[in-house]
Symmetry: C2
Subunit: 176 residues, 2 copies
Amino acid sequence: MKKQRIILDQDDVLADTYLKIAQIVVRDFGTGLPLEAFYNKPFTDILPVTDRERITKLIHEPGFFADIPLKVDSQRVVKALSEKYDIFIGTAAMEFPNSFREKYDWLQTHFGFIHWRNIVFCGDKSIFKADYLIDDMPRNFIDFEGQPLLFDAPHNQSDTQYQRVNNWEEIAKILL
Amino acid sequence: MKKQRIILDQDDVLADTYLKIAQIVVRDFGTGLPLEAFYNKPFTDILPVTDRERITKLIHEPGFFADIPLKVDSQRVVKALSEKYDIFIGTAAMEFPNSFREKYDWLQTHFGFIHWRNIVFCGDKSIFKADYLIDDMPRNFIDFEGQPLLFDAPHNQSDTQYQRVNNWEEIAKILL
């Protein structure tokens, strides 16, 4: 029987991109805010527009995507999922042309067991056909015909439309 | 009404990648063969294994994808198609990690009217959902649920399974 297919987003699903940004803000932006201030709220709720522009600049800089920390349990659970499912990575890399090679190398380093044939750099994710899509952006589910799983993130707290997963352990319980 | 979606391959559909390789072989490989020898036959039928290995090396070199010539009429017809259809570019760039930026810049240069959201770098194209896929590789049609159009190329002459299009003018006649 053909395996069911799961598409995994990279940033804020496999990689803790939000955490890396928050750590840089706390360290370098002189806001006086502790890291905890960023745990449940998006940058848009906390920071003035000048700081948010500084973040936009930051994530477009060469090197930004090279050393993002892993989401807790992501390696272990994705490895287990890959035994049972056909796993694809689908990431909106087109917004960051400087990041292509960094994002690819990051995946090779941390998820080397996923073949390059199963990595997709895209923009609009409505082009995908799969059984599951795990993503932190509700907009990516609008035209998706499979089962969406919304990976909890500070910037998607207001969404109530899609099934939320809080961490990789929860994904393991649902899919394994 | 929602526009129908077309996915266009990049190499040997928008870009004349085969021609660039053939020109380099004629110029640098000392085979004594004229360019015409490559018009209707794949490299595998014409060249010994050492020359084919040299080609593999060549296409992995930085710079190779930066200046591929355009397929005749591709710009004009894709522009016209983009008025009527939702156009995506889907290219197997993952095989060539050195080529990401070159392939992206080439598309910006020659098809700048296609938004980055509609560009996809992938490996396995069975992940795509669309109404049409125009590609030179029959293997990419196996799991495709829309209408395949096989763009004629020396390396797909033996295929009789899929509807063949010989050039962009023929695509215009079918889709416009």
